[in-house]
Amino acid sequence: MGRLSPSFRSAIFSNELIRKPPAVSPESPKPPSPKPSHFPNKKSSKTFRKTKDAGTPQTSTSSAATIFNSPDLSSAKKLITSFAATNASAAQLDTRYHNSLLQSYSAISDVRDTTSLLHHMIKTFPSFSPNRSTYHILLSQACKQQDANVSSVYHALNLMVQNGIQPNQATVDVVVRSICSAGRLDEAVELVKELSLKKSPPDQFTYNFLIKNLCKSRSLSTVYGFVDEMRNFDIKPDLVTYTILIDNVCNSKNLREATRLIGVLNDCGFKPDCYVYNTIMKGYCSLSKGSEAIGVYNKMKEEGVEPDLVTYNTLIFGLSKSGRVSEAKKFLQIMATMGHFPDAVTYTSLMNGMCREKDALGALALLEEMEVRGCLPNSCTYNTLLHGLCKLRLLEKGIQLYGVMKEADMKLETASYATFVRALCREGRVAEAYGVFDYAVESKSLTDVAAYSTLESTLKWLKKAREQGLAV
């Protein structure tokens, strides 16, 4: 019960910078996958805000969605020639049209073929003059190429410069995001440094994106090293950067570093905003430090920062987790008076806390209350309750709840599944436990291995208990 439930993770923001190429073939390079944000707040909307920059590929893919069905270059060239012939009269075709043609071909081919096709297009369409977006298509493809090295990226960049288009911040952004989405973080860092030397430094959004990715997989010293290096190019961490860093150290439970970072942040003249406070609060909550979390809340009040829904949810989660349910309930009232409606996350945290305090029936009552108030419980809510009920030996209620979950096709979580199976076996209802196992496998809640191993070990335990005369 101790871990952060999935419903705490905020919605997934898709990275729209590079438009999804039409799904022409299965081997098409993947568009940057949506990054699930692990912030409890909406920070990522800030980080990814730069989606409609001037230079991003604007493609109207509808017209070219299914034009190319083979990566073969010569047939693609023929197709282009025939297009040029049929559209000869309507010569005033938009560059966007050409770009979308190129984009759809790039989705199924490799970068060398795309480059050749681009040259071919320039020859066959007299009205077509490649713009920034055109080269960005090439660049993003070059960055995503699995086997290729950085040279193909440089090649695309050179082509761009030769045609009189200097890389700008959007270019850097396209390159960085594409390389990162291909999982080649170190190359992204190298490229950014090199581009910065060539007078096209990343903007704050690209910089923060890179920092965030570095935080995920590299050591803290690497991240700090990068931050220091970028100071040479006059790119300094901003409030968002600090929030990312604080979140990172909080996730690794390094609160001393977090406190230091807050000091640095103040020294740099930044005033912590709601997101920073939420992140710190989450750090304390994940360590079950309820008093410190309340301390953060009070500090927010002092500094005149308005707490938002996430603040209250984090606080209620933390207090419930550290066994201070009555205080958590008080905050439920406070948030209502502040005009924030408790959502499924709020109620689920509270139920979690109540179940810990052996008040599963109270938690069940809360389920009714939330439904009356028009807040829909999610699968996490039900799993929390099922877990709590089974742990407190209220098996009948648990079975009822399981019925509801089954009807709604909800997935079981590992912990609630295991507790439920054990509770059933403890009562000697082995056949029903087999039924739950079947449901877990059918609904793909767990892997077959996980579901079976739980069942097997529970049955082994039951057999032993029976031999010792401890169970029915």
């Binding site: 295991a418 507790t419 056949a431 191993s453 049955l459």
Partner: protein, 100 residues
């Protein structure tokens, strides 16, 4: 009782997982029942359990007990009745630990 921790320990242990999902050459009795020459322990359990379900072999009065038919008897030590509790253990008998 810490099911979560227990669970984690299990799926984290590659050898135990391999023990469950690795294909094993079957002895002849099991081969005729399963209809394949190779199966994993997990697959075998699933096969037996679905066989029980499709043939309605669970005792109508006590669902926890399986009344074996001839085919099932042949692989479950010839017992006329088997409790569901012991099913995984009985199947495990066909999958002896390989000597290192």
């Amino acid at each position: 009782m810490l099911p979560q921790r227990m669970k984690k320990a299990f799926t984290d242990n590659p050898r135990k997982v391999a023990n469950l999902i690795d294909l094993v050459n079957l002895p002849s009795t099991l081969r005729t029942f399963v209809g394949q020459s190779q199966i994993s322990r997990l697959g075998c359990f699933m096969h037996v359990w679905s066989y029980i379900k499709t043939n309605n072999l669970q005792d109508p009065n006590n669902k926890n007990v399986v009344n074996c038919d001839e085919k099932l008897k042949s692989i479950l030590l010839g017992k006329p009745q088997v409790e569901l509790v012991e099913l995984p253990a009985l199947i495990k008998l066909h999958f002896p630990k390989e000597p290192k």
